[in-house]
């Protein structure tokens, strides 16, 4: 008898063969390819064979639910949006400007002068006395080499972005003396043209001292004017007669205006959708309009409890941030009626100006009490580089949160925000008032002739007329 067992054992030892059977003289061998389980180098991750048979991994929904719940809780725990406060101004900060080419540079204008900041070091790089009195508006030229300021002293000044060398005096490249106070300024996206507003909307060529075009349409004071970043020849402005006026730089006349119940303070175009813009209104709301259909806004964004002073879109065009007189900042998804996030601190007063950084990561707010604050755009996001596995984990937990977002516990935790008592009380009061008004309207409708009191939707309520 041949010792079969010995032979096979030897084989196994030599060739890494697992079991061996003999059937009727022929030898059948089960063998594995070492490539399937042996690492090439020591640095490789161990290959773990997995069996995805669902019966081996039961309770998938409960397990994922638990994970989602934990992820939501952790998100709330890690939500620490406040990054830094830039202090140094000696008066309230009135306006800010982003640098189009550098993420770390930011400009701020206060009620007495203005400052250029370096954000990575969180320090002031340069201070200059630009105007006598308020700096009303500032904008950086698209190339990033110079910037324009307007102030209460009826001047437009152009400054170099570079710090003057030693011994050189700090003085503007250009000064234009206007007839009246300018309240806002914006620069064209690609050409040497800028626009100011005050008593009228003026379009200026950088090379000339008089405006190349002036628009006025029965209004004598404008608060804000903005170029459309996509269709670069379009403009929109907010006027004091509660209207928003649209212009085309190439046309001799304005295009259209919509008059609302209350005055709009500022507006911002969506940088990814050419025809949409959002305006911040005195009636505590923000309105997103499609410029082609001005007769009603397509979304009304509510949540603030006082006048909204400024608004800025995220560069992805998916969200925007608003600053309000109620001392809070809120972040709204562009098509949602309510905010997804609210930021506030004890010391922050009325927020006057707000900017979303052009890498979509940070938010800058300038407020009355002379400080500029740096916030994260996503409160719980981890900053800095992430390892691939970290990134995968973040993505997974995001997906889980999204999947289970309708479950009451998860929704409850993810939506919980702390608010200062005053704002909390005020929002409650507003809610009660609104409810009462609705109830009354309903009752009046019930007791009046059918059809005599048509239902007016929330969107239609706030627009008075559209003027051609």
């Amino acid at each position: 008898q041949h010792p079969v067992g010995e032979v096979t054992r030897k084989h196994m030892a030599v060739r890494n063969i697992l079991p061996c059977y003999i059937f009727g003289g022929r030898i059948k061998v089960l063998s594995r390819n070492p490539d399937d389980y042996v690492r090439e180098t020591k640095l490789d991750i161990q290959r773990v064979p997995r069996n995805y048979d669902p019966s081996l991994h039961p309770f998938e929904v409960p397990r994922e639910y638990t994970r989602a719940l934990n992820a939501t809780k952790l998100e709330r725990v890690f939500a620490k949006p406040f990054l830094a406060s830039l202090d140094g101004h000696r008066d309230g900060v009135n306006c800010m400007a982003k640098h189009p080419k550098s993420l770390s540079t930011m400009l701020s204008g206060s009620c007495d002068g203005e400052v250029v900041w370096n954000l990575t070091k969180r320090e002031c790089v340069r201070t200059l006395q630009a105007h006598e009195g308020f700096v009303r508006g500032m904008v950086v030229r698209f190339c990033g080499t110079s910037f324009f300021t307007v102030g209460d002293d009826k001047t437009i000044k152009q400054w170099k972005m570079e710090t003057p060398s030693y011994g050189e005096e700090e003085e503007p490249l250009n000064t234009i003396l206007g007839k009246s106070v300018f309240t806002s300024i914006d620069h064209h996206q690609k050409e040497g043209v800028f626009v100011t507003c005050g008593q009228q909307v003026d379009i200026w060529d950088e090379q000339r001292s008089s405006p190349i075009r002036s628009f006025s349409w029965g209004v004598d004071s404008f608060s804000c004017v903005r170029f459309n970043p996509v269709e670069t020849e379009l403009l929109a402005s907010c006027a004091s007669d509660r209207s928003i006026v649209l212009y085309d730089m190439r046309e001799a006349t304005p295009l259209k205006k919509v008059i609302m119940n209350m005055r709009s303070n500022t507006l911002c175009w969506n940088p990814m959708e050419a025809y949409n813009f959002t305006c911040s209104n005195e009636d505590y709301n923000l309105y997103t309009y499609d410029m082609r259909y001005l007769d009603k806004p397509f979304t009304v964004h509510m949540d603030h409890v006082s006048a909204v002073l400024d608004v800025d879109y995220s560069p992805t065009g998916k969200e925007f941030v608003s600053a309000s007189f109620d001392k809070t900042i809120r972040i709204f998804p562009k098509d949602s009626g309510h905010s997804r996030e609210v930021y506030h601190t004890k010391r922050m007063q009325h927020v006057i100006s707000i900017k979303w950084s052009s890498d979509n990561k940070y938010i800058l707010s300038a407020s009355d009490e002379m400080n500029i604050r740096l916030w994260k755009a996503n409160a719980a996001e981890k900053l800095g580089l992430l390892a691939p596995r970290e990134k995968a984990a973040v993505n997974y937990s995001q997906k889980l949160k999204e999947k289970f977002q309708h479950h009451p516990q998860i929704r409850r935790i993810s939506r919980h925000r702390h608010l200062p008592k005053s704002i909390y009380g005020q929002s409650k009061e507003l809610r009660v008032m609104k409810e009462a008004r609705r109830r009354k309207e309903r009752n009046v409708r019930k007791h009046s002739k059918p059809g005599s009191m048509p239902v007016v939707t929330e969107k239609e309520k706030h627009v008075v007329t559209v003027v051609n």
């Binding site: 295009l255 940088p271 082609r292 993505n395 409850r412």
Partner: protein, 744 residues
């Protein structure tokens, strides 16, 4: 030196005077004063550095103080003509025109007021701009729908760059290099940035890889189609059956007419040509004796027609054909009618269907409609299928007509199919069927099936629930005075459910069960259907149990009484109470504990087919479960209380169908499919969990540029994109999708 200074001072003073006269407001006095002081101080010998300051050009005072002399005077036409007369070279034509003008007495219309003209201008400008802006619509929509957007949008392709791109301004210096370059130059090889030769460039420009692929795919497709049609034509030619050809001809004619109709709309000139041809063929038809029932066949049929229905029909058909062929075409009048017919035909099937719920208010319409009192119990349990033609009578008739038409069609089709099948049989005997033909056949059969299916009503159409309440928007924040700092806080937050929440939960008890299982939802549905006030429709006294059956509220109003009587009559056969009792008994039955049988055949005794385990064994392994606590509705005869609901779980369950979902099943399906790595492969997980918006750390995101739009439009013009990604890996596919998004 002194002289210069003096001059400067004087100039400054003069400036001051002029400017003072200029602006009367005098708001700039201070500034002027400063300027003056500066001018004086600069007299001390230091050169003053002049600030460049621009001010607005004044309008009132002319820079050169030049005035036109006869400013107020009007210029008359005669003055101009006078000068014309003096110059001999003036054109005669203009002279004439001017003279005519002078004689012409009629005045021009007054121009529109400035306000009105501006308004018109504004309207026109707005139209123009909004049209221009609307070009972005498709891009915006696409970005909204995109599964993933990567910002910044126009990223340069990563990866190694050519050395020529990296090192700019490099020159050959060493003699060897120079020699090489001179050689290259002689052979017209590229030296600097364009690494490709001119010919290569041209070929690249001629066609990109993608375009080439698309073109190749198109060519392949056309080739296949061509060979298919050739084969088909050959096959058709070989068929000897006259009937087949006749039918074929008929089909062709129909098709031709359809094409002609389209042509009338799109290309009227060509249609006119066609019309002439048709007219010619009509004349020929009139001249010929075809279809006149005068041929041999027709005569034979005429004899048979007395006895044979089919023969009569055939003759009539032929006469009809004749009529059709010899009829004069009047297109414009027909067109509208045809359109109407078409629209009537293309109305979707569900228009004729009866709405599943006729009346929301009437509870009876929610349940079953069993008019026959003798209906069996088993039948009653299922809601009856609505008959299809219960709509308006007119509609029903239309339907019938349509059906008849369809029938005719199918007759033809079935005939054709018969031919096809026979042919196929023959071929399978002889030769193996080529791929093309098979494809054609399958095409045909699918077409046929499509026709057949078209006749049947669609099984179920997903209805978009218009009344689907959006509920509270998910973004709504719950703002409170509690600040969450630690995990424990969050824990607490989740545990204390506010009073309002619990109230909500209790009201939504029914709904909470929806998430349990599919069967549970069905049960719930049934229950909802059964929710009918028994007091309203008491027809038969329940015999089994005595309970207070008297209506709780007696209504005085006559009308309501009448209505109740009517309802009673209408649903005389319904026995709601016994249904309810049955339901309750069923629930009780389901709640009762069941005996668990753990006997395993074959252990300790023989097992196999037809062998039962012994009784003693069965007795031993049967486990009896302790009875549950008595039901809550045990003593409440007309109430069913669901015992299934667990309050500890209910806090975690969804009680309302969330917004984008249309039915609970859909929602459950999304919840049930796991996304984690435990259940899915690496690639799948990556794909599923990919974030919607990806941004790069430290990259500036520019606003979307107009070039993107132009690119998108160009792509749309070049032709439809053909799916070429099937052979690429998942990674590549994603990237190409992104590209598409970007381009759009």
């Amino acid at each position: 030196m002194d002289d210069e200074d003096d001059e400067e001072l004087q100039r400054a003073l003069a400036d001051d005077i002029i400017s003072a006269s200029e602006d009367e407001g005098g708001s700039d006095d201070e500034r002027k004063h400063c300027k003056l002081l500066e001018a004086i101080s600069s007299l001390g010998g230091k050169k003053r550095k002049k600030l460049t300051e621009r001010s607005e050009a004044s309008i009132q005072v002319s820079e050169f103080t030049v005035n036109a002399e006869g400013e107020g005077d009007k210029i008359h036409l005669s003055d101009l003509i006078g000068t014309l007369d003096k110059t001999p070279s003036a054109l005669i034509k203009t002279k004439k025109q001017l003279k005519n003008l002078q004689h012409n007495q009629s005045t021009l219309e007054t121009p529109l007021t400035r306000k009105e003209t501006e308004k018109i201008q504004r309207e026109v400008a707005f139209e123009k701009t909004s049209k221009e802006v609307s070009r972005w619509q498709s891009v915006v929509l696409q970005n909204q729908k995109a599964e993933q957007l990567v910002f910044p949008l126009n990223q340069e392709p990563s990866g190694p760059k050519r050395i020529e791109q990296v090192v700019a301004g490099w020159k050959a210096q060493t003699p060897l290099e120079q020699e090489i370059f001179s050689l290259l130059r002689m052979n017209k090889q590229p030296l600097h940035d364009p690494v490709l030769t001119p010919t290569e460039e041209a070929s690249l420009r001629a066609m990109s890889l993608e375009e080439a692929k698309i073109r190749r795919a198109e060519l392949q497709k056309t080739r296949v189609l061509q060979s298919y049609y050739e084969a088909k034509a050959k096959r058709g030619k070989r068929i000897k059956s006259k009937k087949y050809h006749r039918i074929q001809k008929k089909v062709m004619r129909k098709e031709y007419l359809k094409q002609f109709d389209e042509m009338v709309k799109t290309d009227p000139a060509a249609a006119l040509e066609e019309l002439k041809k048709m007219e010619l063929s009509r004349m020929k038809e009139r001249m010929s004796l075809k279809h006149q029932n005068s041929g041999k066949w027709a005569k034979s049929k005429a004899i048979m027609a007395k006895y044979d229905d089919g023969a009569r029909k055939a003759m009539q058909k032929q006469l009809e054909v004749n009529k059709d062929l010899t009829q004069k075409l009047v297109i414009p009048a027909d067109e509208d009618e045809e359109d109407e017919e078409e629209s009537a035909e293309t109305l979707p099937d569900f228009v004729n269907d009866v709405e599943p719920i006729l009346d929301q208010v009437n509870p009876w319409m929610r349940g079953k409609l069993s008019t026959e009192p003798m209906m069996e119990e088993s039948n009653r349990l299922h809601p009856p299928v609505w008959p299809r033609e219960v709509g308006k009578p007119g509609e029903g008739r239309d339907d019938q007509e349509e059906d008849e038409e369809q029938m005719e069609e199918t007759e033809e089709e079935s005939l054709l199919r018969g031919f096809e099948e026979r042919r196929k049989l023959r071929q399978t005997e002889d030769v193996k069927v080529s791929d093309d033909e098979e494809a054609g056949l399958s095409n045909f059969t699918s077409l046929f099936h499509g026709l057949v299916n078209h006749m049947e009503p669609p099984a179920d159409q997903p209805k978009a629930g218009p009344g689907l309440g959006q509920g509270e928007s998910p973004a709504l924040l719950e703002e409170g005075l509690v600040r969450v700092r630690t995990l424990e806080d969050v824990e607490l937050l989740s545990q204390d459910i506010s009073a309002s929440d619990t109230a909500l939960l209790t009201t939504r008890d029914l709904g909470t069960e929806e998430t349990d299982t599919q069967s549970a939802t069905q049960q719930a549905d049934k229950k909802r259907k059964k929710m009918i006030d028994p007091n309203e429709v008491l027809t038969k006294e329940a015999k089994v149990i005595e309970m207070p059956l008297a209506p709780t509220a007696v209504e005085d109003v006559e009308d309501k009484e009448e209505q109740r009587v009517i309802i009673k009559e209408a649903f005389a056969g319904d026995d709601v109470i016994s249904d309810f009792l049955k339901d309750k008994r069923k629930q009780e039955e389901a709640g009762r504990p069941k005996v668990i049988d753990l006997t395993l055949p074959g252990w300790g005794e023989w097992g196999g087919l037809g062998l039962q385990p012994s009784r003693s064994k069965r007795k031993r392994f049967r486990v009896k479960v302790a009875p549950p606590p008595p039901r809550q509705d045990q003593k409440l005869p007309n109430i069913i209380i669901a015992e299934k609901r667990d309050s500890s779980i209910a806090a975690h369950q969804v009680c309302q169908l969330p917004f984008p979902f249309e039915n609970p099943i859909q929602f459950e399906r999304t919840i049930r499919s796991p996304v984690g790595r435990t259940w899915n492969t690496q690639n799948t997980v990556q794909k599923i969990t990919a974030p919607k918006v990806v941004t790069q750390l430290g990259a500036i995101i520019e606003p979307i540029a107009r070039e993107d739009l132009i690119k998108d439009i160009r792509q749309a013009v070049t032709g439809p994109s053909i799916n070429l990604e099937s052979d690429q890996g998942p990674q590549k596919k994603r990237r190409s999708q992104q590209k598409k998004k970007k381009a759009s």
